[in-house]
């Protein structure tokens, strides 16, 4: 049984106040340099919701423009007027902060999120008008509390403030008095991750055109951990989000592996479906508040807007072969192993060359590669370069070393086999998966044959190992149902019918002969 990409959901949330209050670059600066220039300058670099909509990479992320459209626009992009400024797109939507704060409250099941009564009254109708919201979720939005009470919680009870346009409109309370794993800070990060995952799940399930009851398993591959002091990463974001998203028949679990986790999770989902364990599995992830404004110092220094003001989320629906949707080729998996080492050529060799060698293919046999699709508009001013382009240059360099392309063809490789990056620097969010929606569309339109999705992860940041990590897999155009996996039920019935017919014919022939 093959497993196919049934549909995808991609969402962004504009969270300008969380940049200021929850991004670690900013919270660190508040500790080490509270009176510094950066914190003074920062507020004037924050984008409005309209500016966030009027931004090419964001419109690409939700599917209103393609990576090819983006590649045709000269960089930088932050100062360009985008021809599309819609908040809803083919794959999902860009949610404004006000709606998101209400969604966070709806996703909280322990009365930890409290919002100002007036704020709720003002924005609940707006959330109700959101095409992805339904009655069950709206019913979870409570009427709110007095702002005086919220202020007291922030000032005296260790709660984290929730702000909108620099005004306190709510708080996230701590869930335990002494357990740091349930502190207000951690709860805010986790509820924001859960809420953005819920939004992505709703988009993914809707776009896949499946019934919510069809989802049997959800894998969350974000980078947060939930648990308490006795099991710090106990989990389970996946099932928590599935509950709010209204997936009654789903269970799930969390897969972790830094930025490589989405690729790990996709391989797991595809295997679960291919094995017949589950019919429909959704891989989901919400966004990361800590990474908001991560490279803000460089952006402010260069007079740019704070471009890292978006939480990202995605959901990929993987289900049994329908003969139409692109399938995940599980016979062509790349993996960075314990023994691979960290040399860039060894990393690319393990993720790209090894699986191709096993399948007898060349680097150029893969039409497109989707490694880490970070938006270069964000990374270049921060000195991290154009990450996808660097990956393409590495793959091209390997192809030269292997004699599969000419050295002269180095420059054209990224154009021919690459994509221009558009995803926000939310760690796991850019990691290969943003291209799956576009690849699925292109394959359904017969415009693309094979894409390799590559996830890489910086495990060493966890201080548990010095190792790097990564896995890759290939998605291919579906040439028709069950062409590679033996026989289907219909075929079996057909064969039995034919055998019985033949048997009957033999009997009749024998009877005639007698």
């Amino acid at each position: 049984m093959k497993s196919v990409i049934k549909g995808t959901g991609y969402i962004l949330v504009h969270t300008p106040d969380m940049v200021l209050h929850n991004g670690t670059t900013q919270t660190t600066e508040r500790v080490v340099n509270p009176d510094g220039e950066y914190l003074k300058e920062l507020p004037s670099h924050i984008r409005t919701f309209e500016q966030a909509l009027n931004y090419y990479p964001n419109q690409v992320y939700i599917g209103n423009l393609t990576p090819e459209d983006l590649a045709a626009v000269p960089q930088p992009w932050h100062d360009k007027d985008c021809p599309v400024k819609d908040r809803c797109g083919k794959y999902g939507q860009i949610m404004p902060q006000e709606e998101f704060l209400l969604l966070m409250q709806a996703c909280d099941v322990f009365e930890l999120v409290e919002l100002d009564r007036e704020f709720v009254a003002k924005y609940k109708p707006q959330l109700a008008a959101n095409p992805l919201m339904d009655e069950t979720i709206l019913a979870r939005v409570n009427e709110g509390s007095d702002i005086a009470e919220i202020t007291r919680f922030v000032n005296d009870e260790h709660s984290e403030g929730l702000y909108d346009h620099d005004v306190l409109v709510g708080c996230v309370k701590r869930a335990h008095d002494i357990d740091v794993n349930l502190s207000a800070h951690v709860m805010l990060e986790n509820i924001a991750s859960k809420a953005s995952s819920v939004l992505a799940l709703l988009a993914g399930v809707k776009n896949a055109g499946i019934d919510k009851a069809d989802v049997e398993y959800v894998i969350d591959c974000a980078e947060e951990a939930c648990g308490d002091m006795n099991q710090r990463g106990g989990g389970n974001f996946a099932k928590s989000a599935a509950e709010i998203a209204g997936l009654p028949n789903a269970t799930g679990s969390d897969a972790r592996g830094f930025c490589a986790a989405p690729a790990h999770a996709m391989i797991e989902a595809a295997s679960l479906v291919a094995s017949g364990a589950y019919k429909t599995v959704v891989v989901t992830a919400g966004g990361c508040t800590a990474k908001l404004g991560m490279n803000g110092k460089d952006h402010v220094k260069k007079g740019l807007p704070i471009l890292e003001d978006m939480l990202g989320g995605f959901a990929i629906v993987v289900s049994q072969d329908d003969g139409v949707n692109p399938f995940i080729n599980l016979s062509m998996l790349g993996r960075h192993t314990v023994g691979t080492g960290s040399a860039p050529q060894a990393v690319i060799g393990s993720l790209v060359c090894d699986p191709l060698d096993r399948a007898g293919l060349k680097i150029t046999d893969i039409d497109k590669y989707s490694p880490e699709m970070q938006n270069p508009d964000i990374t270049k001013p921060a000195g991290a370069g154009d990450v996808p382009l660097a990956n393409y240059k590495m793959i091209a360099a390997m192809a030269v070393k292997r004699g599969e392309i000419d050295r002269a063809a180095l420059a054209e490789f990224p154009v021919k086999h690459g994509l221009t990056g558009w995803a926000p620097t939310q760690g796991h969010i850019p990691s290969g998966v943003p291209a799956i929606g576009f690849a699925r569309d292109a394959m359904l339109e017969n415009k693309l044959g094979r894409i390799m999705i590559i996830g890489k992860g910086s495990l060493f940041l966890g201080r548990m190992t010095n190792l790097f990590d990564g896995v890759s897999f290939v998605i291919e155009k579906n040439a028709g149902k069950d062409d590679d996996s033996g026989v289907s039920e219909e075929q079996v019935k057909g064969m039995i019918a034919k055998a019985m017919k033949d048997f009957a014919a033999t009997l009749m022939a024998q009877a005639d002969a007698e």
Partner: protein, 43 residues
């Protein structure tokens, strides 16, 4: 006399450039005493 031989070498690698461990292997081959090796991540 080289720059590295016999010196205490501190390595600041980059996930999207050259990782710390790759630099470490090279530095050791030059006779350096690697006292610290890390890899930074900006994404």
């Amino acid at each position: 006399m080289g720059v590295l031989a016999g010196k205490k070498v501190v390595i600041i690698g980059d996930r999207d450039g050259i990782p710390g461990q790759a630099i470490e292997a090279c530095a050791k081959s030059a006779g350096a005493d690697v006292v610290f090796s890390s890899t930074e991540c900006f994404v």
